[in-house]
């Protein structure tokens, strides 16, 4: 009798946890939709909102742009060298460039940019928002006022998204240039064949999936950590803080996006 009751209580706990998990995602989705509507509204880019947005854009992107580009350049060079040498040793050198473009530009760099921005900007921004939330800065949210969202939250979300996009684009361009220089050297003679390889890799379907994936990663990095700290209710049974739970949610979403893009590209 006792064992049956304990089994029921375990099942009830599991059901409650699942319901809470889905409810959390629903709140995050609703909050994201609200923020996207605000992001498309011109009033969000006027007066003090524009100053706040500019401050966050510069603060979140400028300091890490150079360092991230340097870091990805070094990692790209190592990966390019490994791929080219391995391909040549197996007599498959004609596929080396295509593989480099696929591995670096399509897969690794957008993912690295998203993780880097998440750890470097999105989590600190989420912590700031959590602190503001504790101080009661968003008490007006329940009354339907968009002012705190436009002034405090939207700039942080947009700057996180922008940071992911800029870092990914700059690093992809730099990695593509490095791959060309590593394979062909400082000559323009290999440009036609390189362009042809690039065109072969970036078919319309793959280009669309790549663009959607990068956009999805930037949305996830910008939205999920902040939405988590705002809408995740404190759970006394879970030892992790709300920021850490937001990070887990973010990694889960990044994993989903990555798997979806891989399925779209290669299946």
């Amino acid at each position: 009798m006792t064992s049956l009751a304990s089994a029921w209580s375990v099942l009830a706990d599991l059901g409650r946890s699942a319901l809470q998990w889905f409810a959390g995602w629903r709140r995050i989705l609703m909050f994201s939709a609200k923020l996207l509507v605000l992001a498309l509204s011109p009033s969000s880019y006027r007066g003090p909102n524009l100053v706040a947005l500019s401050r966050h854009l510069v603060k979140d992107t400028a300091p890490i742009l150079l360092w991230f580009t340097l870091m990805t350049s070094i990692i790209s060079l190592v990966i390019i060298h490994i791929v080219v040498v391995t391909s040549v040793s197996y007599g498959l050198s004609r596929y080396a460039l295509e593989m480099v473009v696929r591995v670096l530009v399509l897969e690794l760099i957008p993912l690295t940019a998203a993780m880097f921005v998440a750890l470097r900007c999105a989590l600190p921004n989420a912590a700031e928002v959590a602190a503001l939330h504790v101080r009661g800065a968003f008490d007006g949210l329940s009354t339907g006022s968009a002012e705190p969202l436009q002034r405090e939250i939207l700039p942080r979300v947009v700057s996180g998204m922008f940071s992911v996009l800029l870092l990914a684009v700059v690093s992809c361009v730099v990695a593509a240039v490095l791959a060309y220089l590593w394979v062909h050297g400082f000559t323009a003679g290999g440009f036609p064949s390189y362009t042809r390889t690039f065109g072969r890799v970036f078919s319309p379907e793959l280009s669309l999936i790549f663009a959607l994936k990068t956009l999805g990663l930037s949305l996830a990095v910008g939205l999920i950590p902040i939405a988590s700290v705002l809408y995740d209710r404190p759970n006394p049974r879970v030892r992790a803080s709300t920021e850490l739970r937001g990070l887990v949610r973010l990694f889960f979403m990044i994993l989903l996006i990555e798997v979806a893009s891989l399925v779209g590209n290669y299946l």
Partner: protein, 318 residues
Amino acid sequence: MSDKLTREQRTSESLEVRAALLVGLLVLLMAASAVYLLYARGVFEPSQRLVLLADDAEGVTVGTDLTFAGFPIGRVRGIELSADGTTRIVIDVPRKDARWLRESSVFTLTRGLVGNTNLRAFSGVLSDPPLPAGAERRVLVGDATAEIPRLVSETRDLIRNLTQLTSADSALAGSLGNIQSATEKIKERGALGVLFGNEADAQKLVVTLDRTNALLARIDGLAAKADQQVFGADGLMPEARAAVVQLNAALLEARESLKKIDAILVDAQAIAGNARAASNDLTALRSEVDANLRKVSRMIDEVNRRWPFAKPAEIKLP
């Protein structure tokens, strides 16, 4: 207070400029990447369509290159299955590269061992008419993996033949044994002895060779004498040369004589011309004399008619 406000305003303006620069960089890079991708996909390049028909297009994917002499000149845009079950491989060939494709071009589809598939074009006669846009051609399929069973079978036959050739009782081994015994005999009796089978015949050949040498020496002497007779100081050739010189002189004299005869003939031609003119004059003179004689005759007839003793001219009929 106003200083603080101005500083804050300046800071916010600076932030806006830096943010605008970052946004501009992102927009610029994205636009440049999009344009480069469109260029790489051949959007800005006019192209013509070529359709290759194959029974099986396995391994061909959208984006596969069509190569000519190792250079990519086209790209697969689509693969369709026609109503009769034939695979249609639709290829876009840029107009600037379409000159390598002719009416007589041959297209092949080869599959490599590691799964790579190649579409190749061969144009043997580049002076043929160019391939028109939208042309449909059969593609010859060459599958490297399909050749493996045949290759293995032929290799097995080859190895069996080699084994037969190299076995102890094979013809090759017998021939090698014979060659070995022949070389041993050569060592003992020399090559001629092995060739003739006995020493006496080999000796005869040596004697024949000696006599042939002596004969050749005599022929050599004869040739030297003949050379002296023909080309020597008093030989045939100098005399012939002198005769030719004399003949040349005689021919010169004959040419002079002929020139004189030519002049005489010219004079005779002139005389003949004069004689022809004189004969023309004689004809005129004769006609004049004839006219005068007719006049005299008419005058005598007139005198006779007017004369008293003249008889009337009558004609009596019987």
